[in-house]
């Protein structure tokens, strides 16, 4: 049996969504502006988009680019961040480079990349890769730096080589921090996915959105915003499930030591 407090906590996100839609609906009815369709109009447009084969192919192509960009970025950034965290030389070499790239909006690099690589998948995937890399590198770096020296010494005394210590001690010890970076990276992947398609208007979810905007189909525009938002929520929820499983040992519900010496 669920207590009323638990029930309320479970229902809170749903209530928040309903509340937002209600405010939207009222605002739209009050303003009577063409560029702000009502919530019901936008929601009614969603099945049309998802039922359209062309749109669906576009959205799936977007997700595929995002998955590749995110996956490659994570695979490259975690080892790099860990090495930077444990080696001052590596950190000294890469830190200035990353500090230059970090504040630059990745979409601002797109026109140049487009000149080199065209407007196809490679360019957009590369931009997603850049967007995801930096937070993952940063958090891996911070996580690796914070690993307790004595933990590494304990491993060294057991006979672990420096490479083994990096993989078998630094990586798991830094995992909670790394996954925090990956979670930020996942949201950034979604954002850069849409912005890349906004600049290189050729295919994808962003393309549907901005084409609709050009044609004044505001219900489609808002329907796409809802779809992208829902994708974000779903991806984040899936990621959170995986994350919670991987770092169960560091979760705060275990934070109550037993009273026994």
């Amino acid at each position: 049996m669920m207590s009323s407090a638990t029930l309320l906590r479970r229902a809170a996100p749903v209530l928040a969504c309903i509340g937002l839609l209600a405010v939207w609906q009222v605002a739209s009815l009050a303003l009577k502006n063409d560029s702000l369709p009502t919530a019901t109009e936008a929601i009614r447009a969603i099945p049309d988009i998802l039922g359209d084969k062309e749109s669906l192919i576009n959205i799936l192509a977007s997700l595929r680019r995002m998955a590749i960009g995110f996956g490659v970025a994570v695979l490259v950034s975690i080892p790099l961040g860990l090495l930077m965290g444990r080696s001052r030389g590596v950190a000294a070499f890469f830190n200035p480079l990353l500090m230059v790239i970090y504040p630059v909006p990745k979409a601002a690099l797109m026109p140049i990349i487009m000149l080199w690589l065209g407007v196809g998948d490679v360019t957009k995937t590369l931009v997603i890769f850049l967007g995801v890399s930096l937070p993952v590198i940063y958090h891996s770096f911070e996580g690796a730096k914070a690993v307790e020296e004595k933990m590494l010494w304990s491993g060294a005394a057991m006979g672990l080589s420096p490479a083994q210590r990096l993989v078998r001690i630094v990586l798991p010890a830094a995992l909670p921090e790394i996954l925090t970076g990956c979670r930020t990276g996942l949201v950034l992947a979604l954002i850069t996915m849409i912005t890349s398609e906004m600049i290189a208007r050729q295919s994808g979810a962003g393309n549907i959105l901005f084409n609709a905007l050009d044609m004044g189909q505001y219900d489609t525009v808002f329907a796409m915003i809802i779809i992208v938002g829902a994708m974000g929520i779903c991806l984040d929820a899936i990621f959170e499930r995986v994350r919670a499983r991987l770092v169960r040992w560091s979760e705060p519900q275990f934070d109550m030591p037993l009273s026994f010496s």
């Binding site: 307790e148 004595k150 933990m151 010494w153 304990s154 060294a156 005394a157 057991m158 006979g159 672990l160 001690i169 798991p172 010890a173 995992l175 770092v247 040992w249 560091s250 275990f254 934070d255 109550m256 030591p257 037993l258 009273s259 026994f260 010496s261």
Partner: protein, 281 residues
């Protein structure tokens, strides 16, 4: 600065190197200098020479900042001395190795591993088969009093329990020397006493060589065969004192023993004297 030699008393006497040559660790003129700023050097250890016999329980006792932990880290191979040499069984120490097992004040357990996973880690690394490593580890966990907690994560344990796991984890790969760095320093008085008793019980079974760093006089006298007293800035050996008390030692008997009390009082007095010397210079 001069160091006033301590008065030798009936129970407190400096040890000369007349012991038979069963030395397991030899520290020869080890100095450690840390550069604290561009112009200033901090001499943590100054020309330390010390020989530790196999099977002895030796405490390094000193005020904080006297370099006693640094000395332990040098023996562990975690830190290289600025000059001088340290040897184990006649071989120069160039890095950490499974012949020297550390137990740290910070526990340094692997938080992503369960109690059993932590204890099994060393034997598995040494190539012991999983089933065998698990059986040995379960026995060790029982020995340190944690039977039933095998599947717990470090985060779920109290400080005392964590240190028990850390001890079992180190004993699991059979080091020849235990290097204990203020292992009970982070624990409350009650827990500390229990762990001291249990450590003695475990040690009295197999008499592994122990190098034990502490700043507690009681702890050093209660546990050790030999107490190495250090003074600070620069870290030097001030006195080496044999603790001639019978074993097995029982806390309740020992606390009433005038010989034990005299050791504690004499060593504490030497500390006070060295403080005075320190403040006068």
């Amino acid at each position: 600065m001069t160091i006033v030699p301590a008065r030798s008393s009936e129970w407190v006497r400096p040890v000369r190197s007349q012991e038979p040559a069963s030395a397991i660790i030899e520290i020869d003129l080890v100095s450690q200098v840390f550069q604290t700023s561009a112009r200033k050097d901090h001499v943590a250890l100054s020309e330390i020479s010390l020989t530790i016999e196999e099977g002895a329980f030796v405490s390094i006792l000193g005020p904080s900042g006297c370099g006693k932990s640094t000395l332990l880290y040098i023996v562990g191979g975690f830190v290289s001395p600025t000059s001088g040499s340290a040897k184990i069984k006649g071989h120069a120490i160039t890095g950490p190795g499974p012949d020297r097992g550390p137990v740290f004040q910070e526990f340094a357990l692997f938080p992503w591993k369960t109690v059993l996973g932590n204890v099994m880690y060393g034997p598995r690394q040494q190539g012991v088969r999983a089933a065998e490593a698990e059986a040995q580890s379960r026995a060790l966990i029982e020995m340190v009093g944690l039977k039933g907690y095998e599947s717990f994560y470090p985060k779920e344990l109290s400080g005392g329990m964590k240190q028990r796991v850390a001890l079992a984890r180190t004993l699991a790969y059979h080091p020849e020397v235990l290097l204990m760095d203020e292992p009970f320093g982070a624990l409350d008085a009650h827990t500390r006493t229990r762990l001291q008793n249990d450590l003695l019980n475990i040690w009295e079974r197999d008499r592994k060589t122990v190098l034990f760093v502490t700043h507690s006089v009681d702890e050093a006298v209660f546990l050790s065969d030999k107490v190495v007293m250090m003074s600070k800035s620069p870290g030097r050996i001030r006195e080496v004192i044999d603790i001639d008390l019978p074993r097995p030692r029982r806390r309740n008997e020992l606390l009433l023993d005038p010989r034990y009390q005299k050791y504690v009082v004499d060593i504490e007095r030497m500390f006070d004297e060295s403080d005075e010397v320190g403040s006068a210079s």
